[in-house]
Amino acid sequence: MTPDPITDSVLQRHGVTRDEYARIVTMLGREPNLTELGIFSVMWSEHCSYKSSRVHLKTLPTTGRRVLQGPGENAGAVDIGDGLAAVFKIESHNHPSFIEPYQGAATGVGGIIRDIFTMGARPIALLNSLRFGPLDDPLVRRTMSGVVAGIGGYGNSIGIPTVGGEIGFDRSYSGNPLVNVFCLGISRADGIIKGTASGVGNAVYYVGAKTGRDGIHGATMASAEFDDTLNEKRPAVQVGDPFMEKLLLEACLEVMKTDALVGIQDMGAAGLTCSTCEMGSRGGAGVEIDVARVPQRETGMTPYEIMLSESQERMLLVVKKGREAEVEQIFDKWDLHAVQIGEVTSDGRLRVKDHGQVVADIPNKSLTDEAPMYRRPIAKPSYIDAAQQLNLDALGAPPAPRDVFRRLLASPGIASKRWVYRQYDHMVRTNTLLLPGMGAAAVRVKGTSRALAMSVDCNGRFVYLDPFVGAQLAVAEASRNVACAGGLPIGATNCLNFGNPEKPEIMWQFARAVEGMGAACRALDIPITGGNVSLYNETDGSGVLPTPVIGVVGLVENAERIVGRTFRSEGDIVILLGETRNELGGSEFVHVVHDQIRGVPPRLDLVREASLQRLLVDCAATGLIRSAHDCAEGGIAVTLAECCFDTKLGVSVDLAAVPDTPSPYGDTAALFAESASRVVVSVAPAQVTALLAMSASAGVPARQLGRVGGSRIQIAVKGRPVIDEGAADMERIWATAIESWFEQRRAIA
């Protein structure tokens, strides 16, 4: 190996600092060549190494009675009974989706699906959490159209339903959209397969698409801010091929049914580099490959390019010696070419050859466990104290409730997402129990009487105003949504989207959010079994709202007892579980009406939240309640309206006055405050007493608000009517608000 001259500009291009370089030299005992530097640079990138976040992530609760696989593998897994496991994870594809929305989002879907089937699980559900800028910006609409089409294009083709998700809008995401994709699969509890290489002499196989020059340094790109050189970064986004992945999925699941496999890992970020050294490191073994044997799409590729390519739809397998023919035969059936590119060794090193000549020789551990870990400086941002001040009196008299109500229903964050989910196949595999928009996502587990409820959530405004409480509220909301459907939360995965971690203010947001998330998960007994961190979500130095998305999985014992968001029958009684307080801080009201993110987020009492969620699960299991819908953005007024939409039913209720509210804001707080731990449920009249008794013994405040019926949404506060609107009219506003931005049929005034 001839050493290449490693200059400062070479290091800078690789995103490697001088200190990190010195560390590489120490670990190798010599200067690296360019190929080795490339390998170090991608493995030590923020995206692969979690070097800024690991010290914080270690504090999260990751164990529990049901946890079969915690963080560290391709995905987490929890026991769901019947000898089965739910395998799930969420991952971001923010940076590629901004550069090239369709392919960026599509390959994000492809990547998370590979993570799931790599574990031996058949993927059965996709969800996503998306953030965009305001829709009046044509570039934002172009990005959103592309992202939605890309998610659909991949998921629809491969045949995994996109069953739910959430979308938020804020100016901070205009130049940096968030695309977080969640996938869940089912495997046998004793059949989870790991990404490990072991057994000296076992064959290392490469299967799937050929390697091209696409995506070289994708992981490094995802670890830097955007600036005006954006267009030059376009070649670092890959192009997805869902058909190839469908073949890989079916063939790999078939191979896994044999016991010829030792381990398997997909080639995602940092491609062949990451899969070889991580598998070796996990198995305490070495891996030796010859890049000349790697199937290539282009001619003249160097070992550097082959090792760093992020071409999609590729898998690395370790196969037991002597079983090669069996495995090759299965891939042949699916018209896939499995090629042996190397073997497992005993020396713990990643050794890369090119036509037999060694071109890189690095200890696996130095690329993985021994990668740098930073405790970056943190500092409370100066904006927080000022932003937390919300002086209602200074905002002037509030607009009439009916006007606010209409504006909130038309606000894209609240409005129906039908235009989006109609582009996703959400029914393939015939497990979908709740259609998108009808509550938490819910799929049955065929062959059992159980179902799984899932929800991904985060209110970035709350996190911006108070990262600790905001992250807790995200956990509470996601798990509450799952509990509303009747699911007992049993596990979670997180996707932490923040700005540049080298800024102490951003790192403070991150650290506080992780603390809050950990505290909430401990209190609600929800282990986090894995996830993903996306930092450097900044364009031209301006960061996104801190957005720690959490995906919660809940177990529904009786799939027949799934509860949805909508009212069911005329005459049913509407009950509010929980209490409304004067909490307009960070609300959709303040955002939509005053264009501000201001105030203190709602308080959260985790003990109360836990009681509420237990009560909801019990009520669903006994069939006591007919609908349940969480109060979130837009407050109880929006919740009540959403309970009516898609039913042709109306509702008539009388809300309690909210204590301690400045006089002109009494109605506003009662209607639109976003206090936590509240759920609107409906029950048959004969069940009211039973529900009130159950609530009382659970220590959950419950109040009878009114009844389902008629064709109007009629809301009074302390006996005084404040909103009285036709349900169909309100539904039209809500249902068409997003669509009207995209369908150019609007009359030109």
Partner: protein, 249 residues
């Protein structure tokens, strides 16, 4: 009855169709790989939905060359019932077993949702148990479902009563609003002249249990069983068992 469900690389509704035949209807069913050259002892053949070969060319354009399609053609020519659902319909069009072609949806977008399809004719193996004019609440999920044929072909289809399903409003009216993709005459499904080969874009296999939103699609599958009973000795068929997973919500 024995169902043969053809699996092309990229089929993705194969398991769902199998589930209905096997678990919901309690019938014998087999997945048949596209490279196979025999349909075994199948009584009915279903080409399921999906994206055969990725559909990167025209939908169904490559799948028609799969070895099994020769067998499907022979089976159909002998009067055997063949049903193509969604991508399966597209394959039947490309294979020339049904007339016409599919264009991109007029919205240029993939569309997935429940809608209403009216049963136009009940003298096919797949609509035999339906009431004439029965309205099925049934989902679609496609990007290329805009059925097109030359005007004279459409006229012939209408004249010969070969239009089997039509997109309608909830109350059964043929309107433009009820047409999800721009298909000529709101056509959702057609049959061949022998009436034993039927293709439709909606997914009856996704609407066979109330748990997943509708059981209207069962009419199509019950028709197959009825056709079987009427065509063969009744004793050779297993009794249709009610699925344990059908329940009222």
């Amino acid at each position: 009855m024995k169902f043969a469900i053809v699996v092309f690389p990229g089929s993705n509704c194969d398991h769902d169709t199998y589930h209905v035949a096997k678990e919901v209807l309690g019938q014998d069913a087999e997945l048949v790989w596209h490279k196979d050259r025999s349909l075994g002892r199948a009584d009915v053949v279903i080409l399921p939905g999906g994206f055969a070969h990725g559909d990167y060319l025209r939908t169904g354009a490559i799948a028609r060359f799969s070895p099994i399609m020769q067998e499907v053609s022979t089976f159909a020519a002998a009067g055997g019932p063949v049903l193509g659902i969604c991508n399966g319909f597209q394959v039947l069009l490309e294979a020339g077993l049904l007339p016409g072609a599919m264009l991109r949806n007029r919205s240029l977008k993939f569309r997935c949702e429940f809608l209403h399809a009216r049963v136009e004719q009940t003298d096919t193996p797949f609509t035999l148990a339906c009431r004439p004019g029965e309205i099925l609440r049934i989902p679609i999920a496609h990007g290329d479902g805009n059925y097109y044929a030359e005007p004279d072909v459409i006229a012939r289809l209408e004249r010969n009563r070969q239009v089997i399903f039509r997109y309608v409003s909830a109350d059964g009216e043929v309107t433009d609003d009820a047409n999800p993709n721009g298909s000529v005459n709101n056509i959702a499904g057609i049959c061949n002249e022998m009436r034993n080969v039927v293709g439709l874009m909606p997914h009856p296999e996704r609407a066979c249990e109330l748990a997943v939103g509708s059981a209207d699609g069962l009419s199509v599958f019950r028709s197959i069983l009825k056709w079987g009973r009427e065509s063969f000795n009744e004793d050779t068929f297993t009794t249709m068992t009610a699925s344990s997973t059908v329940f009222n919500k």
